[in-house]
Symmetry: C2
Subunit: 385 residues, 2 copies
């Protein structure tokens, strides 16, 4: 096991009705920037409930709606401007990963004197931030308990992750009932996203049994509860298990002590940056292709463990088992979870950008479990085409 530092100070309030904890914002100031997406929170009542609790403790609310699914730097800039102009004390995101990521960089940008895109390109420039709060409405990215945010500048076909301890949310409210209205498509994409987070770490957990075995538990949770949530969207326990597993997939607990490389996320970020596709769908399409590409003699044992401990498969032939594990994942994504099975199915109809996307993914990632070259990535894109 490698050395690690771990600090996850986010206060979690999990369960039905925990939105009432919004009244605690009174301890952090008088004026909040409320960040949200396309307005579904106004339809399903979450907005009204939140406003009620904020008003009950005399907090003034300034609003920034309309955050995009792959949140744009232009929206971050708008939020930063509002924070500075209105002397905002704290930022509250109500929404999924995109909304929360946007709010995180707004909170950091509010304490930064130059353009917020600098903070996306160079996280070391984040030296403080306004306190960040959120009410999560989509089980997927785990941003509710981690230091990361991903922001796009589509004018440049760029989508980058950044991270800072100052961007870890102070308090996150996770009410599984708030995910009842999440569509089939987004439920599946969210499940694929959290599985990808776990899998990006999983294959590098040599000698870290504790993290590896917990990761297997998380994967089993997602595999069991994803389909239930898909077909019975108001099943509380399925939504709850999916939500909590999504948080754990990336809050540091299962990632600590290994040296993962995050191969698939950088590849997918290029797809989203060039084609604005749904992140989780891109991950589902790329992950099995990536696995088949890196399955070699020296990675075989990891894939056998994956097949046995995650999928409960048995057999005497290690290679057969390894391939069966990957096949089980494909079946899960593309049949059980009804996701698009290849790049063409999400509207990427030719290979013309594969080279430049591969080059950018390669430049942006910092090494990998099985080192991937530009050529490797093009090959994976082709296999997923």
């Amino acid at each position: 096991m490698y050395n690690f530092n771990l600090h996850i100070p986010t206060r979690i309030h999990f369960g039905k009705g925990t939105i009432s904890y919004l009244s605690e914002l009174k301890n952090y100031g008088k004026k909040v920037l409320l960040v949200y997406g396309g307005g579904s929170i106004k339809k399903n009542g979450i907005y009204d409930t939140a406003m009620e609790f904020l008003k009950s403790v005399d907090i003034e609310v300034i609003e920034l709606g309309g955050v995009e699914p792959n949140p744009r730097i232009e929206t971050v800039r708008k939020g930063v401007e509002l924070c500075k102009k209105e002397n905002i004390d704290m930022v509250l995101a109500i929404g999924g990963g995109s909304t929360i990521d946007c709010a995180k960089v707004i909170a950091a940008g509010a304490k930064y004197n130059e353009d917020a895109w600098d903070l996306v390109l160079d996280s070391s420039k984040i030296t403080e931030a306004l306190p960040i709060f959120d009410v999560l409405t989509l089980a997927a990215t785990g941003t509710e308990m981690d230091p990361f945010a991903v922001i796009s500048d589509l004018s440049k076909n760029e989508k980058w992750g950044t991270g800072s301890p100052f961007m870890v949310p102070t308090m996150s409210i996770l009410d599984p009932e708030y995910t009842y209205s999440v569509s089939k498509k987004q439920t599946a994409a969210g499940t694929a996203d959290m599985m990808s987070h776990t899998l990006e770490n999983y294959f590098t957990m040599e000698n870290a049994d504790c993290q590896k075995f917990m990761a297997e538990g998380l994967l089993r949770t997602m595999i069991k509860n994803g389909p239930i949530a898909l077909n019975d969207p108001t099943n509380y326990d399925a939504r709850a298990n999916l939500m909590w597993a999504g948080t754990h997939a990336i809050n540091g607990n299962v990632g600590a002590g290994s040296k993962p490389s995050w191969c698939v996320h950088p590849m997918e970020h290029e797809l989203s940056a060039f084609y604005d596709i749904t992140h989780g769908e891109g991950l589902a399409i790329l992950t099995p292709a990536w696995m088949e590409h890196i399955l070699k003699e020296d990675t075989l044992k990891n894939f056998v463990d994956f097949a046995k401990n995650v999928w409960g498969l048995t057999g005497d032939d290690d290679w057969e088992l390894a391939h069966a594990g990957i096949a089980a994942l494909k079946k899960f994504f593309f049949e059980t979870m009804e996701m698009p099975a290849n790049l063409r199915a999400v509207g990427i109809t030719d290979e013309k950008n594969f080279g430049i996307m591969a080059q950018k993914a390669c430049d942006g990632s910092k090494g990998s479990f099985v080192p991937l070259s530009k050529e490797d990535i093009v090959e994976i894109f082709r296999a997923a085409f």
Copy 2:
């Protein structure tokens, strides 16, 4: 899944050489109370290394050595007196669970005007505490990342747990190499302790797959690495996995969202309070007897899961599987881990106190998975005799 709140703000520095993080204490004051046990840290060099880092940042050290294996209220009182007399800014424990528990209540007592035993009997009286730091030298109790402490008043045959957010350590240093010198007996007892923490929660994780499947991962980690550490005490990865699994067993992650009752710990606390036996050995002796007592029609499914997912057992007959899971645990504790198999083996040679101990255990616990009466507990003591 039940509602829960979770907040684990402890900063963890895990791995070889992380004791250097002691220099961060300079951010919390100038004067530390150093709490330790029987002096083994002076023999194995940890004391000297710690003093070096503390001196390098000009921290003055006041010492309190001699904390007992079941830490006594008298020692807590001594520490509190020192804190008040010397104007101590923070408390640093170097040792195992007993030393850290003692330091926690000292830190709370330093901010309390009356007798510290009040804080053990009534945790609501803990309203502040000095910052608490520790260097862990035994993988067992998980106190390094939780709000709990257990203190004894042997003059009254009393041993009670208390807990407060103010007693969560600010920073814990976990260097697996510092557990190389832990004896076989204590390695086994520590493994049993962390398994018991996990198991106290495990059977109440109805509908909390995420926590349950992670708990199974923790148990598998302990079952795999406990025997390696026992027989190859300087095996870094075994010590590291055991250490990190022990922390996770009780830091709130796998316990959140269930309603566990903690049956075995209250029973064992009575054994320790009356006979001053090793906590982990008492837990190992009682746990299988407790399981056999609560295995009924309505708990059968949990025991089948335990047999299958933790021990990898298979079979068509649920009752056989359930019993086989318990038998596997017995074999693990009493053969593989070479622990004493019954109460007589730890020097409890007659049944005369069973009644009064059962009554006290019953009064102290707050309900249970399968509600236990005084009579149930006497029966479990007898089965373990």
